[in-house]
Each structure stands twice: as C-alpha cells, then as structure tokens.
C-alpha cells in the first residue's frame, strides 16, 4: 500500500527529473548547466530508488538507493566547483566520478555496504548495514562538507551576481541539511519516526534554489514562483468548485469567476515578472556604476600622482636652472663690489648689463614656477600680520642703487598714523610691490617714482606713479595677461611679460585687486593695488 509520504517521494523524483532536464536543455552549451543537469537527473534517480521499495520491497532497490546515493555528492561537488570558479579538468572529473562509481559498485554488487532489506517505519525501508557502511558514510559526509566549505569560502571572496548565486545555493544546501538532520537524526532520537522518509524529498529544496541561481534569469524569481504557485492553487480550487457545483447557474458563475481570475492571475504574474526584470536591470546598472566608480577613483589617484610629480619636477628643474644663474649673479656682484680689482668704466657697464640680463632670467624662472603652481592650484600662502610701510620701505632701500644709477628720484607718501596691518603672505605681497616699483624704474628715463600708501578704512591702497613712457589705451588692454608684451607693443623691453600676470594672480588670492592708469604715451603710468583689511 502506497501512502502519502511515498507519493511525496515519487513527486519529488519527478520534479527533480523535470528540473534536471529543464536546466540541461535551457542552455546545454554552458558547462554549469550540463553539470547541474546531470546532478538533477542523478538526484531524481536516487529519490526514485527511495520510492521503489514501497511498491516492490527488495534488497535490489535498497542497494540501488545506496549505490546511486554515492553518485549524488560526486555530481554535486563537480558543479559546485564550477560555480565557485574552480577549474574543471578531465583528471578532476574522472577522479571524482571514479570515487562515486567505486561506492556505486560496492553498494550494488555485493553485501559490503547493505546486506538485507527491512521495513523500519511506516512508509520506509532501510537496509541492514554491511562492513563498509562506515566508510561509505565518511565518503558521503566528506563530500557534502567539501561542497559546503567550498560554497562558504567562495561566498566571502566574490561580489555582485556571483555572490547572489552562491547565496541561493547556500540557503538551499543549508535548508536541505537542516531538514535531513531533523527528520533523520533529531526527531528519531526524540521518538518521532514518522517523518524520516522526508529526507530524500527535501532534496527538492536544494534543487529549486540552485535552479534559481543557475538559470540567472530567475535569480530574483522566488516571488515569481510563489505568485505562480498561489495563482495555480487558487485557479485549481476555483476549477474544482466550478466542476463540482450543483446547479448550472453556479457552474456558469464558477467558470466566469475562473476566467476572470485567470485574467487577473495572468496580469499579476506579468507585473511580478516585469518588476523582477527591472530589479535585475537596476542590479546590473548598479554593478556597472560600481565598476565605473572604481575606475574613476583609480584615474583620479593617477592624476593626483601626476600632478604631484609635475610640481616636484618643476621644483627640481627650477633648482637646476637657478644654480648657474646664482653663480653668475654672485661673481658679478663681487666684481662690482671691487673685490677683484678695478675695471674700466666700459667694462663696468658691460658687467652691469650682464647682471641685469641674469636678473631677468632669474625672474623668469621664479615667475614660471609661480605660474605653474598657480595653474595647478598648489600655490601655498603663509598668512600673517603684515605692515605695508615696512615692506615698501625695505623695497625702496633695496632698489635705491638702481634708482640713483638712473638719476631718478623716489618719494614715499604715507599717512602720519601708521597703516592698519593686513592679513597676507608677506613674501608674496613684497613680490607684487617690488615688481611694480622695479617696472617703474625700468620704464622711466627722466623724473622719478612716487609711491603712495593710503588707509581707506576697509582696505589699503598702494599706488606706484612714475614719469616714464606711459601707455596708450590699446597698450593697456590685456596688460595683466600672460606674455602681454606679445600684443604688438614695445612695452616692457626688459621684462619677462609674466610679472603683472603673477602679481594679479597673487592679489586675487588675497581678495585684492590691481589696475593701471595712464594719460597716454610719455605721460607716465600709475599702478594701483588694493588689499582688503580683514578684521580678525
């Protein structure tokens, strides 16, 4: 007599068989589908041999159960290896299946593992164990633990889709093992023997979860399958109700209801499927974004490194350029000081010219380094309290040699009350003022320079006025641009064309400004600089 448990076993065998075929034929070109398909079919055969003793209790079926049972872990191990990205070599396949077939043969053709059959529980048959039964158990448990170990290890190593796939297989495997342990070991220990034959049917759980994982398309398909089962169950109930209705009216009502439910069910399944597809797309997209972000981060790091390397290169290159210039400057200064004896006036003039040219080169190197730092945003400012009069006076003192040499005058107008201190980088503000006074000396042949300092309550103004060559309106255009000398002017014959550009950039960084005024050609120029007073 076949009871309900045994029917469950048969249904499981059929379902395993169908799922095995489904995966196998869904994409036979994929190795994992083939390996898993084989696993499904072997499992189906195993469950089937578990069912057979109920209709034909013989030692043959029990032995077959153990024999095919030996192939289940072997086939499982192979596709799990593939899923976890391990190499499936011919040697590995042969070795694993050889072990499986060894136990298959041992179980089948002699009495080493099982010797006899006996009905042990309601609906269940077990064999009397043979001398190699313990070895057989070690093989089965060992193979199953290898599968679990491999899955857990890989789960923590991978990410994205692979992780989700392995999570599904792990859930299935763990549920399966828990159920088997519960019905085969824990419940029997507590005296509950009636569920023991649920062990082989519960393999369907593992099969369903792994099918979900492998067929990919239904990776998030648990909800879909539940929806389909629900719709099918309600549909079946409605059909039975319609068929068994007592009156024609109720029958018609039942069928109409069934048709309506059919439409609704179809729409429900379609909507669920669409939602799943959208989620899969989002998952895919977010994976792509993740990859792009990683690439972007790497690119940014490389760029930062390059930027740093460029700045470092410039610092070293400037150092190398400055070294010979320093030697020229130093020796010429010593000659001009008279440390190497007296030279004729003509020679002195030449030395002065060499010195001036050398100064221009030094200034050029300094400006280029400044510009490169400004451009890459690596200019650093050392902000402190700065007294503008002190800086201006020291610059005038420094340049007095050249002023006297050109027979020019220099006047400094400053308010009686000392100026308010500004918050600024002393060296950079000094560089700006020095540049303006130096320019004024260069472009003034007669007369002189007047420097005026004003406290305008919320800002300080520094004005450098000269009686030099002046500028036309056209010449004043683009005065603060890089290489403004290139604008068709004979302006700044001795300059680098970078000084005013750098000055403007430095002032902008201080929230200050610079501008120029001139009445025209030969009417002198005035350069104004304003720096804000920032209250602390």
């Amino acid at each position: 007599m076949v009871d309900i448990l045994e029917i469950t076993v048969l249904i499981t065998a059929i379902l395993n068989l169908l799922l095995g075929f489904f995966v196998l034929f869904q994409k036979p070109s994929r190795r994992i589908n083939r390996l898993f398909g084989i696993f499904g079919l072997i499992t189906a055969a195993w469950v089937f041999t578990n069912f057979m003793p109920s209709i034909q209790p013989s030692v043959f079926w029990v032995k077959s159960g153990y024999a095919i049972g030996a192939l289940v872990p072997a086939s499982a191990l192979l596709w799990v290896l593939d899923l976890c990205g391990k190499k499936i070599t011919r040697t590995r396949t042969v070795l694993i299946y050889s072990l499986g077939f060894l136990f298959f043969t041992l179980a089948h053709i002699n009495n080493l593992i099982v010797t006899d059959v006996e009905r042990v529980y309601l609906g269940g048959y077990e064999g009397d164990t043979g001398p190699l039964f313990a070895l057989y158990s070690v093989y089965i448990i060992g193979a199953l633990f290898s599968v679990l170990y491999l899955l857990i290890l890989t789960y923590f190593r991978v990410s994205g889709l692979k992780k989700t796939q392995i999570r599904y297989v792990l859930i299935g495997a763990i549920l399966y093992i828990v159920i088997v342990s519960l019905v085969s070991f824990i419940l029997p220990l507590l005296g509950g023997l009636e569920y023991i034959n649920l062990d082989s049917p519960s393999s369907i759980i593992l099969i369903i979860f792994t099918t979900l994982a492998i067929t990919r398309h239904h990776l998030f398909g648990i909800r879909l399958i539940l929806t389909e089962i629900l719709v099918a169950a309600i549909g079946l109930t409605l059909l039975i109700q319609a068929l068994t209705a007592e009156t024609l009216g109720w029958k018609i009502f039942g069928f109409v209801l069934l048709i309506l439910f059919g439409i609704l069910g179809y729409l429900l399944i379609r909507a669920t499927l669409q939602e799943i597809q959208r989620r899969e797309e989002i998952e895919k997209l977010s994976e792509q974004i993740k990859v792009s972000n990683i690439r972007l981060e790497a690119a940014l790091k490389a760029l930062e490194k390059l930027d740093k390397a460029k700045t470092e290169f410039l610092s070293i290159a400037s150092h190398q350029l400055r070294t010979p210039l320093t030697a020229v400057k130093g020796y010429l200064a010593m000659i001009q000081e008279g440390l190497y004896g007296k030279f004729s006036e003509d020679a002195s003039k030449v030395f002065h010219k060499i010195y001036a040219s050398n100064e221009r080169l030094i200034e050029l190197v300094n400006s280029l380094l400044d510009i490169s730092r400004i451009e890459v945003g690596r200019m650093e400012f050392n902000i402190e309290d700065v007294q503008i009069e002190d800086i201006t006076e020291s610059i005038i003192e420094e340049l007095s040699f050249y002023i006297k040499n050109k027979n020019l005058y220099i006047k400094l107008n400053k308010p009686k009350k000392s100026l308010q201190k500004i918050r600024a980088d002393r060296a950079k503000i000094r560089q700006v003022i020095l540049n303006l006074i130096d320019n004024a000396i260069k472009y003034t042949q007669r007369g002189g320079i007047t420097v005026t300092l004003q406290d305008l309550d919320d800002r300080i103004r520094i004005s450098v006025k000269d009686t030099g060559i002046g500028m036309t309106k056209k010449e004043m255009e683009g005065l603060f641009e890089m290489y403004s000398r290139g604008k068709g002017m004979r302006l700044f014959p001795e300059g680098t064309g970078l000084g005013l550009y750098v000055a403007q950039k430095l002032l902008q960084a201080h929230m200050g400004k610079i501008w120029a005024e001139s009445e025209g050609k030969n009417k002198g120029s005035t350069f104004h600089v304003e720096l804000p007073l920032r209250r602390r």
Binding site: T311, E312, S315, I316, S318, H319, R322, T323, P324, L325, T326, A327, K329, G330, Y331, A333, M334, E337, L339, I362, V365, N366, L369, R378, E380, N382
Partner: protein, 126 residues
C-alpha cells in the same frame, strides 16, 4: 678669534664663491659636500653658523635640519637654509625650526654677508 662657518653645499662653483666672499669678511669657512660629512664635522669644528643647502647627495638638507635642530648639542647653532630648491613643504619646515630660508638666486654674495652677520648677532644676543 675668527668666527667659523660650516657651509654644506655640493655645487663646487657656489661653495667656492661663498667661501671666497665670506673669507674676505674674515670668517673661517669649512665646506662639506654632503650632509653626513657636515654633521660629523660639527663635533670637531664647532661652527658658529651653518649654511645648509637642501638638495644634496645622500641625506637631504631637510633631514639634516631635523637632526641638527633636535639634537641638544647642535640645536643652538644658527642655521641658514641656502637653497635654490623651493617648495612650500620645506618653507613650512624651516619656519617650524625658526630657521631663515633664503633662495640663493635672489641674493647677492654681499646680501649673504649681511644675513650671516645679522644671524650671528641675533644668536649672540640670544
């Protein structure tokens, strides 16, 4: 007695130039072409001031500055960083150790004499 200056500078043309100018002012100048040699000379020569270049073969000037300023035996010797290598990082470090940082290309040998005098007087007062 003549004041002693230790010049740590690897560029021969510059070390000769600075030495020549400083000797004219009556200073005794000892030159070392690298930082390691310079540091080992300090114990023997006990200089009154050190002129330190930054880009050197072997140990760099920044490291030498750290060693000299953190060693109780040498921390009171005034140091002037004299280099054409100019980075904000080094400027910051020199400020931390309260050390003058001079760009060689921006000063003449006469300016250097002025700076040395100023620094020695400063340390003499301190």
């Amino acid at each position: 007695m003549n004041k002693k200056i230790l010049l740590i500078e690897d560029e021969k043309i510059l070390s000769e130039m600075y030495a020549a100018r400083l000797k004219k002012e009556g200073y005794k100048v000892i030159n070392s072409q690298d930082a390691e040699g310079g540091i080992s000379l300090i114990k023997k020569e006990k200089p009154d001031l050190i002129l330190l270049d930054l880009l050197l073969p072997g140990m760099q000037g920044q490291e030498a500055l750290k060693i000299l300023k953190e060693d109780p035996a040498t921390k009171n010797i005034p140091i002037i960083i004299l280099s054409n290598y100019d980075t904000p990082k080094v400027r910051k470090q020199s400020k931390e150790y309260n050390t003058k940082y001079i760009l060689k290309a921006n000063i003449t040998t006469r300016d250097l004499v002025g700076l040395v005098r100023e620094e020695m007087e400063g340390s003499g007062q301190g």
